[in-house]
């Protein structure tokens, strides 16, 4: 097998080795391409190992969600799977449960947060890409700092403020606080998309007689649409997965599914299998979206418009 690999990997002539006297030792270039092949398969092996490793928690939680109460602490992979946990979490045959409500709350806050971020972030990113104004860099950096400041540092004053403003446990409050998560993402990523588009595209439209607004909507916006799609999905995932804000700033009304899944840990019985079922379902929307995202994250949008 290794010879076929080296032969295809080295088209420079080692395939014609038959006519030469077969060398006693592998020729240098053969040896080096064999080394390359070896390095390649090593890389594959380690990638596979990493893949298996990162799959462990997912397999674990999936298995756990299918275990009965009796099995949950006593078995690893050998158990009789049951969907009982899912039925319990969703309250099927039990008149429904609050899980569905929390799931919807997650949807509302995440989608709402993304929409607000887009409405403000798209113009902001455009302005940041096209104009230098006083303090523009500082503003952008401040925005970015929201991302790397630990949320725990602000959460206590924030919850006090929220209590007093009446934003505690409201959708508006949640959507607002999630801007800390989604807005920097939207502005920073879209700014680079806008920057990639040559200003001449718009200028040409202006010369053609379009107004500034028309030029923006007709030339620039359609070209960054893939970027908007990508950043929306990304922001949605971040908002959905956020735990600390709903954990501290909501109690029942606007509580999200990430927090409510923990509810099964309370009471007199610790039911990890129910938590697992809740978590698995909560992980579905980001997972599905993540599959879509890859396609959109491909760059090179202004390809063909700019000189190479």
């Amino acid at each position: 097998m290794s010879t076929t690999v080296t032969e295809t990997a080295d088209p420079s002539g080692s395939t014609a080795a038959g006519s030469d006297a077969a060398p006693a030792r592998p020729r240098p270039e053969l040896r080096s391409s064999r080394r390359k092949a070896l390095a390649g398969s090593l890389a594959n092996v380690s990638l596979a190992a990493y893949f298996a490793f990162s799959l462990i928690p997912i397999v674990f939680i999936l298995a756990l969600s299918l275990k009965s109460n009796a099995d949950q602490t006593t078995t690893y992979l050998a158990f009789s799977p049951t969907f009982e946990n899912y039925r319990t979490v969703l309250g099927i045959g039990d008149g429904g449960s609050s899980y569905v409500r929390f799931f919807l709350a997650s949807l509302v806050t995440s989608v709402g947060a993304v929409l607000v971020s887009l409405a403000i972030g798209i113009p902001a990113a455009y302005a940041a890409a096209r104009y230098r104004f006083r303090g523009s860099e500082d503003l952008l950096f401040t925005l970015l700092s929201f991302r790397f400041a630990p949320e725990l540092a602000v959460i206590i004053p924030l919850s006090v403020i929220y209590q007093q403003l009446g934003l505690y446990d409201t959708f508006v409050g949640m959507i607002w606080v999630l801007q800390l998560v989604t807005m920097p993402l939207v502005v920073w990523i879209l700014r680079s998309f806008f920057q990639d588009l040559p200003a001449e595209l718009e200028e040409a439209a202006l010369l053609d007689g379009y107004t500034r607004r028309q030029a923006f909507f007709k030339t620039v916006l359609p070209l960054v649409r893939p970027g908007i799609a990508a950043v929306s999905l990304l922001a949605f995932i971040f908002a959905w997965n956020n735990f600390i804000f709903p954990f501290t700033l909501t109690s029942s009304n606007a509580q999200t599914v990430t927090v409510s899944s923990l509810a099964f840990l309370g009471g007199n019985q610790v039911q990890f299998n129910l938590v697992a079922a809740g978590v698995v379902m909560a992980a579905l929307p980001p997972l599905v979206l993540a599959l879509f995202i890859q396609r959109y994250l491909v760059r090179g949008l202004s390809f063909g418009a700019v000189k190479s």
Partner: protein, 358 residues
């Protein structure tokens, strides 16, 4: 199609925290209707800035721009009816070539769109690629699409920023000819920014030489080449470049290049003192000792295909002199040669101001 008059146009870029940039400092030009003017100058001298001010994409700091009989200063680009073909084409990737060309017609809601696109495409030779998207086109084709887009709505003035710069040598030649032909046929008042001086001289009715935001000279290609007004134009225009030799003009009508070398130039009133003697390599000829103006030692002889270039060191002089000779002379380094300068094509510039004194 209208004439264009620009008076004392200036542009100062002011960016906070950075020194002001005087990109254009007093630009004057009148372009007749249907004329093609080439804007020539080194990188960063303000050519693009000038075009952008004419188009309205950049506010002029001061000065006046008139198209036809009315001033366009203060008007937004939408209301100037000026066509621009950008250096980077500014084509719209998702649209086909014909849609790109029609893009500008749609804004003004012009009818007979199809006919006009087809007509322009036919003239520029784009008929075959009307349905292609810009991504796959060659630079030359993109260039032509950009041009088609600029002219399809029949602007009063056409501005082209380095339309040939991304083409290879062969494409350049043909595109240049096409461009000239088209411009004459359609009669557009055109300003063309052009990096390559040879192209500027061969293409334009008149050439504007710019440096550092200031117009150095405006004239026909012949005037620019034969009659440079100052050192900058003399140095910038011409390939191989003009010989420029430092010297001192003496009262006896000679220029002293060094203690050993003097060149007789005749009387030049009021020009006694430090000067720069300019003469193009083609006006320096090998001569017998009797007719020689200067003599020196061969440094190198480059045998090019159409001609030879002879570099000669003059005794005591700092600069070497280059002569354009017949090809294949085979002059070895170290050999003594005598050179004559064509008197009527020898220029004198003031070393102080750079202005030409003869």
């Amino acid at each position: 199609m209208s004439d264009l008059a620009i008076r004392d146009l200036r542009k100062t870029y002011r960016t906070k925290g950075r020194p002001e940039v005087h990109a254009v400092r007093g630009f004057d030009l009148e372009v007749d209707s249907g004329e093609l003017v080439g804007l020539l100058g080194p990188s960063g001298c303000g050519k693009s800035t000038t075009l952008r001010m004419i188009a309205g994409l950049e506010d002029a700091t001061s000065g006046d721009i008139r198209v036809g009989s009315s001033s366009v200063v203060g008007l937004p680009p939408q209301r100037r009816n000026i066509g621009v073909a950008f250096e980077n084409y500014a084509l719209y990737p998702p649209l086909s070539v014909s849609e790109n060309i029609a893009f500008g017609l749609r804004a003004r809601g012009k009818g007979d769109r199809k006919k006009r696109v087809a007509d322009v495409a036919h003239r520029i030779g784009l008929t075959d690629i009307l349905d292609a998207t810009p991504v796959g086109l060659s630079s030359g084709q993109k260039q032509r699409v950009a041009l088609a887009r600029a002219i399809v709505r029949r602007p009063d003035v056409l501005l082209l920023d380095e339309p040939l710069s991304h083409l290879d040598a062969g494409q350049r030649d043909t595109t240049r000819r096409e461009l000239r032909h088209l411009q004459q046929e359609l009669g557009y008042t055109t300003i063309l920014v052009i990096h390559d001086q040879e192209e500027a001289l061969s293409l334009a009715d008149r050439v504007v030489v710019m440096n550092d935001g200031v117009v150095q000279q405006v004239g026909t290609p012949d005037e620019i080449y034969d009659d440079p007004m100052n050192l900058f134009v003399a140095r910038f225009v011409g390939e191989p470049p003009m010989n420029l030799l430092d010297g001192a003009h003496q009262a006896d009508g000679t220029v002293r290049l060094s203690t050993e070398t003097r060149v007789a130039v005749g009387d030049v009133p009021d020009a006694v003192g430090p000067v720069v003697l300019g003469v193009r390599p083609e006006d320096v000829v090998l001569a017998g000792e009797a007719d020689a103006d200067v003599s020196g030692v061969v440094v190198v002889y480059e045998n090019l295909l159409e001609h030879g270039l002879l570099t000669v060191e003059l005794p005591g002089a700092e600069e070497r002199i280059v002569a354009q000779t017949a090809p294949g002379l085979g002059l070895e380094p170290g050999r003594e040669v005598s050179l004559a300068l064509r008197r009527d094509r020898t220029y004198l510039f003031s070393a102080e101001t750079g202005r030409r004194v003869r």
